[in-house]
Subunit: 233 residues, 2 copies
């Protein structure tokens, strides 16, 4: 592999995750991790392991009630779709409540604190195999103006959420004015390319990221925009 | 490299691109391409090669005038920032007009038709080295609600923009209701992880994508939301 290249590796063989399972141990058993790897884990298995499930009878009424109980504010409604702000400050369809890839009778909520969930997976991997990795918890969000969903980061540990290049020189030696790159979202997106929605692969390893990105970080502190910094809220 | 893994390779040694240069030939000379690779090229070198430059004296007044001439509609203004809709239907800061990484005295506009630009690069690579690749033209956009910018696709050729999984079964065998994944944006994001804003690497190769994604496609037709399909316009 060329210098500076990244490798994005699907993690196979994790199987169904149930409440109380250790996501960290499942991943450490399924793939040979290396120091400096970034492990991307889909929200769904993290939420399942954490028991973030509520009974769901399949009705539109109950779905709406669950979504509203997970929302602090509804931004838009159209038909069955509710775009809502969650307690974490995420703005997404159905406040992150998901009924696909779940056993009948249940709906999956977002983790209560996805940055903490990421730290728990990071610490668990360190304990299971002695390797220091970064962790990104990913989820699938739509966005205004552009069709199609992409995976984004809802929690991180040990890897930057936003990389601040303000003040660094550009390729022509002049100072970049404002470039804050959301590398955590780009890592989540890269990982989704090997996971797919239908394939049941709930984790991936991104190998080869810049070592300078591996630091304490938080999606909540770095990515979630405060309302008064937000032109679209 | 494991089965199903992707490799993201930075393309070094392209150097400064000037009007009339062939982006395809520069890339084909800089990296050994393989059939099925997706080549991601940043908008800036495509625009420079196509001569999409306008004189710029560095003043805020002229910058505003250039941005407004590239806009069909201004959505928000705050200080120096203008969020505008371009003729292509993209909604982004400054209508895509860029003054960083450009020689003094010039501003760079988006390509007039980025899907066409992508086809031209794809055709040029086929001619230069006989290899059939997909091409994504990427640019760096901000987004509502989340801090930090990410790279997205503004043009594609030979690779899907949006992958339609509606009607496919999920991992538990039930039918996914609506999952349209914007793989072109995810590919652009993955590529940005090896390019960086300050490093002057204007292209990357994403190797190992699902062969089913390699088809005729268009950002304009697949990604740009029509206003009446858009809850946020």
């Amino acid at each position: 592999v060329s210098e500076g290249a990244l490798v994005v590796i699907p993690v196979r063989g994790i199987g169904e995750v149930r409440q109380g399972d250790s996501v960290a141990e499942s991943i450490a058993a399924a793939v040979a991790l290396e120091a400096g790897d970034v492990v991307v884990v889909t929200q769904k298995i993290v939420s399942k392991a954490e028991g973030r499930l509520v009974p769901f009878d399949g009705s539109m009424e109950q779905r709406r009630a669950i979504v509203e109980s997970e929302s602090v504010r509804v931004l838009r409604r159209r038909g069955d779709l509710i775009v809502a702000e969650t307690r974490h400050g995420f703005i997404c369809a159905n406040a992150g409540v998901d009924v696909s890839n779940v056993e009948e009778g249940w709906a999956v909520l977002l983790p209560a604190d996805p940055d903490r969930s990421a730290r728990r997976v990071r610490d668990g991997i360190r304990k299971a195999c002695g390797v220091e990795v970064g962790v990104v918890i990913s989820d699938t969000f739509g966005r205004p103006w552009r069709r199609g969903v992409t995976d984004v980061a809802i929690g991180v540990a040990g890897v930057a959420a936003v990389l601040d290049l303000r003040g660094e020189p550009d390729a022509l030696g002049r100072t970049l004015v404002t470039t804050e790159i959301c590398v955590a979202d780009e890592i989540a997106a890269a990982a989704d390319l090997v996971m797919g929605k239908a394939s049941g692969i709930p984790a991936a390893v991104v190998r080869g990221v810049d070592a300078a990105w591996l630091r304490d970080a938080s999606v909540r502190a770095e990515i979630v925009r405060s309302p008064n910094d937000d032109l679209f809220r």
